[in-house]
């Protein structure tokens, strides 16, 4: 471990260190030693988080050969209480008629002779007595009872498209058009983000979600919350020269889009290596279910608590939801894993005092056909469900459940709320950003109230 001695006296606070380093721009950050005072007034526990990381004191500050980067300013900004939006995607088109099952609708059991939930299963949905929460969504029902869930029982858009890929693209880019290059959250980051901080848009599934695809500002993907390192049989002092050359590969000019793509990924990979290199382990104040999805959320809560400068985070719900056959079993286990993970995440944020800074949005590309198919499954439908979860969530249903008595021209559930209206409301009420420059036609959508005053 190359711990170089620092040349500052121990009485400095971290924010003073930052200031003095900034004053000596280009000279690099001084090292923060164990036992140094926390940055005044920020309540950051980043130091602790990092020093718990497999016993390493090496991280963004420690051993820093990094100049004072915008990553640092990002942390300073995050510390002032930036809001974080977490987007959870049910991949494949979750069956909204199972999550909030219309057990009180007379047509439900006719259309779903094998798949209909019985009226006795699940918790009643207090805002519409026709609907019951699926038993696997009991965790969501718990949060709803606490007033922390706003439900959209029939969300979608006019002339719904039943292609996974087209409809998902609409949701990802926030517009009913194919071929958009930037996601709706990516455009938000382009507007307000930092040009040096890849953590401001973070996908946690091992690949970048198109939702946070930006035109200019860096964003990042990780496949594990347990570390981000690059392996090579090369150690100090040769490794730092190697990484420098790697970073320079990313900074050279490009004469083709593919080369530009490699260069961009190279530069951001090296940046993330510097930013996350020392992060190795974390502890959570609450118990999480022992699932991969929950582990990622536990890591996310720890990241937020550590003050990592994040704004938009995307994560896929556990499992897949394209339930063309044997829907009951698959949906049950995947939905349960997802909802239980989210409940633990919310409790974690509450325990850490961060619940007022984080809002979670759950969505899917469409709902499924009310009439079940011949394989104990359901085919692609139209209106689906979405949820906004958080201590600051308004907790009121948006758009009513339209019932199954009258369906659309393709025998699918009619839409009673538009996903772009949800995006506009999240941008303006939660992220404090005018939706006009981000969502095309934003002025045409009536904003539901999603955030508590």
């Amino acid at each position: 471990m190359s711990q170089r001695p620092h040349n500052c006296c121990g009485d400095y606070t971290r924010s003073q260190l930052l200031r003095s380093a900034a004053a000596e721009a280009g000279k690099g950050l001084p090292i923060i030693e164990p036992g140094m005072p926390e940055p005044a007034g920020t309540g950051l526990s980043r130091r602790k988080f990092l020093s718990r990381s497999a016993g390493l004191a090496l991280a963004v500050y420690g051993a820093s050969k990094i100049p004072l980067s915008a990553f640092e300013t990002g942390i300073a900004q995050a510390a002032t209480g930036d809001k974080v939006l977490v987007s959870v995607f049910f991949d494949g088109g979750i069956d909204a008629l199972s999550v909030l099952a219309p057990v009180g609708d007379p047509r439900y059991s006719q259309l779903r002779p094998n798949l209909a939930l019985s009226p006795e299963t699940g918790t009643p949905f207090s805002e519409d007595t026709r609907l019951n929460w699926h038993p696997a969504a009991a965790s969501l029902a718990t949060l709803h009872a606490e007033g922390k869930v706003s439900a959209f029982p029939a969300i979608g858009y006019d002339h719904p498209d039943q292609s996974h890929f087209t409809s998902r693209h609409f949701y990802e880019v926030g517009e009913l058009a194919v071929g958009f290059r930037t996601g709706w959250l990516g455009r938000y980051i382009d507007l307000v983000g930092d040009s040096e901080n890849p953590l401001q848009g973070l996908s946690m599934d091992g690949s970048l979600s198109p939702m946070i695809a930006t035109a200019e500002k860096p964003v990042a993907a990780i496949d594990s919350v347990d570390g981000y390192d690059l392996w090579a049989p090369v150690s100090d002092p040769i490794d730092s020269e190697m990484y420098r050359s790697f970073a320079r590969f990313g900074a050279l000019p490009a004469d083709s889009p593919a080369l530009a793509q490699v260069r961009k990924a190279t530069a951001q990979t090296d940046k993330l290596r510097q930013d996350l290199g020392g992060i190795g382990g974390f502890t959570s104040p609450v118990a999480y279910p022992d699932t991969y999805f929950a582990h990622k959320l536990a890591g996310l809560a720890a990241f937020i608590a550590a003050g990592l400068p994040m704004r938009a985070v995307t994560i896929r719900a556990a499992g897949g939801y394209d339930t063309h056959s044997d829907q009951a079993g698959d949906l049950e286990s995947n939905l349960r894993e997802t909802c239980e993970g989210l409940l633990a995440f919310q409790r974690d944020l509450e325990a850490r005092g961060l619940a007022d800074r984080v809002m979670t949005e759950m969505w899917s590309e469409f709902g499924r056909r009310p009439e079940e198919n011949g394989s104990a499954g359901t085919d692609h439908g139209a209106a689906g469900c979405a949820f906004v979860i958080g201590s600051k969530a308004k907790g009121e249903m948006v758009g009513e459940f339209p019932g199954l008595a009258s369906l659309d021209a393709n025998e699918n559930v009619r839409v009673t709320s538009d996903f772009r209206a949800m995006y506009c409301a999240l941008l303006e009420q939660w992220l404090g950003q005018d939706a006009g420059p981000i969502i095309p036609g934003a002025s045409g959508f009536a904003r539901p109230t999603l955030v508590k005053a």
Binding site: S163, S207, V234, S235, R248, N373, D379
Partner: protein, 560 residues
């Protein structure tokens, strides 16, 4: 020996204790969570007492100039004893000029080329691009050989292979040196195919099988037996140059596909429209082009009814067959044509749809050339396709000799293509099953595409996937990277020599000038870190490892 301990050895230069039976990457049977091997411990520095005083002295020596000749280089020599006045400071006699590198096929075979074909020189550079895109990169000497065949000859040597493929070199083994079991052991299906990519003498067959694996993307996640996935890939191998209609029909009733898109759960009176939709949207017509309506999908689903299989705990899904009792024999109207259509008609109706040929040629083109074809080229491809009765080979051959392939911009290699190419260049064979869990974070595990639309070629690179490629390069260099701490590495290797050695290890690929310059600069910077005599060898060894790694993760390796 486990990977982690091997790595640690490489660094520490010590022998490992007994093999660790709990190797982190082999304890999970089906779970797709690769564990990150523990970071290798940093080596213990050999602490030597600092000399109280050294006498620094400017000396001169001959170093290779990169062009086969030598140049004088000044360097700081550290005397351990006070040097005498006027002692020899170099550089001495100039060494003999080294033999020049063999000229890379300066002349090209002026083969007759059809109009519309690429008309420029077809040398090693162009042949390398061809074998990168129509295969998995060259083995040493292959690009030179292809160049000698001329453009048309080289393309036809790939598109018209004779007989069965020969796999040369040692067969694949797992980490224990045991033969792989692709139908039985998790992850061995992936390395089974990777091995074929590395060892085949018919690379385009494997590449086209990969193209159709992406085109008709089927995942083991929805299929009961790995053997059914392997059988499907063999279908792609055998049918990849023939009639698209034949291939389409074979895929439609392929057991893996019948499970994956519920074709065998689509019965008279209880249709399942999953396959009907995707066969139009993804396989033959494309979304949002006005080629079909929601009603067409529902009618098509009825045409496709009738397939079934049996299930048993031992055999999984088996005995796939058409059962007339399950087939809907009423008339269906698809694309305005009414009849008692069955599954063969369903495929034919799609291929006969006026919007199919334009979809087919654009999609096939996109696997080989990054920018879409001009309208004129697309029209030519469409008429070739129509005129041949939906044959794949003529369209493919036209694409592979088109100017856009040789003169147009680069493409990002899919991770598996990059990996297979690296093993071919390095002369390595498949000797570890680590490739499966290493490829997963890179975004591509064979037989496990992310969904039915296949892999997204525009999203191969982000911070997570780039890190995975870096780590794949590290593993690919296992056994080629040197042990920094066993005291055997040269203590005098120059910066140029180090770079030349690393490039040669990679099979002497062409590097862009700015990358070569950066690598040389690194090599020189690394040399400057040597501050004590004990560091001369170890630091040079680590420099070599770093150069190998940097070449493997450079755009020159990632792009095709």
């Amino acid at each position: 020996m486990g990977r982690t301990s091997r790595r640690a050895n490489l660094l520490k230069g010590t022998s490992s204790p007994a093999d660790n039976p709990e190797e982190p990457h082999r304890v999970f049977p089906r779970m797709a969570i690769p564990r990150t091997p523990e970071k290798a411990a940093k080596p213990k520095r050999h602490h030597r007492r600092h000399r109280l005083h050294v006498w620094k002295d400017k000396h001169y020596r001959w170093v290779p100039d990169g062009n086969g000749d030598w140049r004088v280089q000044g360097y700081m020599y550290r005397h351990h004893h006070k040097p005498k006045r006027g002692h020899f400071r170099g550089p001495g006699k100039k060494p003999a000029r080294r033999a020049p590198a063999p000229a890379a096929a300066a002349t090209f075979n002026p083969d007759p080329r059809p109009p519309g074909a690429y008309q420029g020189p077809f040398g090693v550079e162009q042949a390398t691009r061809l074998i990168n895109r129509a295969g998995f990169g060259p083995v040493p000497g292959q690009a030179e050989h292809l160049a000698s065949l001329g453009l048309v000859g080289a393309v036809q040597s790939l598109t018209r292979p004779s007989g069965a493929a020969t796999l040369s070199g040692p067969p694949p083994v797992d980490d224990d040196g045991a033969p792989i079991a692709p139908a039985d052991v998790w992850g061995h299906d992936h390395i089974w195919w990777l091995d074929r990519m590395v060892r085949t003498d018919q690379p385009l067959v494997e590449r086209m099988a990969l193209v159709f694996h992406d085109w008709f993307a089927t995942s083991i996640d929805g299929v009961s037996k790995p053997q059914q996935m392997i059988d499907q890939s063999n279908l792609f191998r055998s049918a990849c140059f023939g009639s698209f209609l034949d291939l389409f029909r074979a895929v439609t009733i392929d057991p893996a596909m019948l499970q994956w898109l519920n074709g065998a759960e689509n019965r008279k009176g209880a249709p399942n429209e999953n396959y009907a939709r995707e066969m139009m949207e993804l396989f033959s017509l494309g979304a949002d082009r006005g080629a079909y309506s929601e009603d067409d999908i529902r009618e098509q689903a009825r045409a496709l009814t009738g397939w079934r299989y049996d299930w048993s705990g031992e055999q999984g899904a088996h005995n796939f067959r058409f059962d007339p009792r399950l087939h809907d024999t009423a008339n269906k109207t698809v694309f305005g044509q009414t009849g008692n259509w069955g599954w063969e008609d369903a495929c034919r109706l799609c291929v006969e749809n006026p919007l199919h040929p334009s979809f087919f040629v654009a999609k096939l083109w996109s696997y080989f050339v990054p920018q879409p074809p001009s309208a004129a080229i697309a029209d030519g491809l469409i008429s070739t396709y129509r005129g041949s009765g939906w044959q794949i080979r003529p369209v493919l051959e036209t694409i592979l000799i088109s100017p856009d392939l040789y003169e147009g911009p680069a493409m990002v290699k899919p991770p598996v293509v990059q990996l297979a190419g690296m093993l071919r260049a390095l002369g390595r064979y498949v000797d570890t099953d680590a490739w499966t869990w290493l490829c997963e974070p890179a975004g591509q595990v064979l037989f496990r595409p992310p969904n039915v639309s296949g892999w997204d070629d525009t999203r191969w690179l982000d911070t997570s996937r780039m890190r995975a490629r870096w780590n794949i390069v590290d593993y690919a260099l296992d056994g080629i990277s040197v042990d920094a701490w066993n005291g055997s590495y040269s203590t005098t290797e120059s910066a140029d020599e180090a770079l030349a050695r690393a490039v040669a290890s990679w099979g002497s690929p062409a590097l862009r000038a700015e990358h070569r310059a950066e690598l040389l600069d690194f090599s020189q910077r690394a040399e400057k870190t040597v501050a004590a005599s004990w560091q001369r060898g170890p630091y040079r060894a680590m420099r070599q490892n770093a150069l190998l790694q940097l070449i493997g993760i450079s755009p020159d390796t990632i792009l095709q």
